[in-house]
Symmetry: C2
Subunit: 349 residues, 2 copies
Amino acid sequence: MGNTPPVGRKVTLSDIAAGCDVSRATVSLVLRGSPLVNKHTRARVEEELRRQGYVYNRAAANLRRRTSSSIALVLNDLANPFFAEFAAGVDEVLGNTGYVTLLGSTGESTERELAVLGSLMEHGPAGIILSPAEGSDGQQVLAAVGSQTPLLLFNREVGGDLAACDHWDRLFLDNQRGARLATEHLIAQGHRRIAFYGGHLGSSSCQQRRAGYHEAMKAAGLSVEANWMIECMPNRLDAVAQSEHLFAGREAPTAAACYNDAVALGLMLGLHQRGLQPGRDFALTGFDDIAEAAVSAPPLTTLAVTPRARGRQAAELILQRLQEPSAPPRQTIVPVQLLVRASSCPPHA
Amino acid sequence: MGNTPPVGRKVTLSDIAAGCDVSRATVSLVLRGSPLVNKHTRARVEEELRRQGYVYNRAAANLRRRTSSSIALVLNDLANPFFAEFAAGVDEVLGNTGYVTLLGSTGESTERELAVLGSLMEHGPAGIILSPAEGSDGQQVLAAVGSQTPLLLFNREVGGDLAACDHWDRLFLDNQRGARLATEHLIAQGHRRIAFYGGHLGSSSCQQRRAGYHEAMKAAGLSVEANWMIECMPNRLDAVAQSEHLFAGREAPTAAACYNDAVALGLMLGLHQRGLQPGRDFALTGFDDIAEAAVSAPPLTTLAVTPRARGRQAAELILQRLQEPSAPPRQTIVPVQLLVRASSCPPHA
DNA sequence: CTGAAAGCGCTTACAG
DNA sequence: CTGAAAGCGCTTACAG
């Protein structure tokens, strides 16, 4: 009585059992809140748990019970505020549910993605939330994660043979509708020569946004010049670098629907460098509504996607899947909302 | 031969051993790359591992070996780009070293911080990287994490009795020097009435930055008015809201050293709302060099802290600590670098 | 070079 | 209501 186990070793169930003369089974029942155990015994055990500073070893319990208490969250770009907010939302819900988030960041590299998934799988996550890297292949991802662990695909589709991964749940933004809304808005402002700027054709979200753009242009009877469709990396830096191409042809556009906010902000810089003032000489829209969209000069018209709420939603979807492993796969398309700000001005006189 | 274990059950060492008629011990040796095992046997085992799609159960191995392969990363605000970049840096290094990152986000709540730490501890991380919530208490954190698990304190000091936690490693920015550099720069531009704007006195980093500011002001023989020292939440929104207080006194400042970039960007908005043009009518500096600092209008003079590199450094520090558990605690102060941009203009004529 | 046995810290039927 | 025993998937001395 009163003695603690040697320092440097963690306190285990056995230490507690020995400390208050009950069996390990009884301590385990107390820990798991079983009603089977006598009030008085429970009190003694709980006191001893406190006294020795017991820390539950969840890994051991998971091993015995063949359960898991972790969810893997694999993101193509954690440094992007959109995904950072998303991760915060995921972690918020998981934390409240007793799950721990295993984080993996792939830096938009498909090689690293496979390595990260392989490494995380060894920790036996109950489920996986994956925002795939650009060019990620469904077959390879499937090979890395196996078919036992539920996976929720977020934000973009993977490439390759989708039949093999049609059991995955999906959570996507309504990219096409978003880009259509933005383009329609530019058209309503009076623009006729409208570019679609940025993103990579390799990514499904870029294809969808371009489709929305084309839809709006077609519906308005507007034609699209080849040099109005510019690809660039979905970040600010490359957006600045490529912006000259917008003005390479005869018919320079007066507005651009941009792939995302980062690209739009980069384009603003590029416009400045050409002596054009965005929001006066040239109209543009973004996508994402990242924090800086509201405070750029001019403020950026964009599409709100509320990434934190998406994160919460993703966590809830994967938790639901754990409840009903055999329910049919669910594909959720999240509507996005157009926020009109000063950057989408009417054409300059 | 050729039969796979029933679907739905994971493949284990025993399945592999049975599949190629060796003992589990031998398979284990193959997995761990032991030179003891015969070339031919190794080849057979490796083929069988592939064939059955074996996935190593690291949790079980950790249990047996009494080791851990995870590091807990607990952040006060993951949605903040500074911490998101930091997390990406941490994960980059840990991923390359075979560790997995257990993510925890506290949303600047000390209550949640303790809950998150308690929950993560049950997963037995080898070490903890903690960027504490504002007002976090050292004793309570210590009680939550115990004294067995190495902890690296990042970004800010905890409160309370520090003697109890002087065995923790620390990685801090040189806040005082950074704020001094910014203030000296404003003075060199010709400003005399310089405010220190934003942050909470509860946070050690705010105190340090204020100290650097006072140091520069004192060295230049400049006095400081009470209404030049404004507290606000370290985000854009509250920075806008509080900005009127800067101009409440008789002696309005002509410049402000801001607590961080978010606050500086918020102040810019507040200035605009008063009809003042930042970078012409009022000079300001930030702290952090977040992505938007370079693209705000005007671009923001700030202090580069390279959060991603800090993340990598934090991961390396904690890994070193795991190598040498009994080395004396290390406190690392990271120098910061002043980036001069257009927002820190000379006083308006 | 390979195998039998014990054990990491837990949980869960099964007796009593 | 409580305890003895087996077992989750691995590793590690120890024999042979």
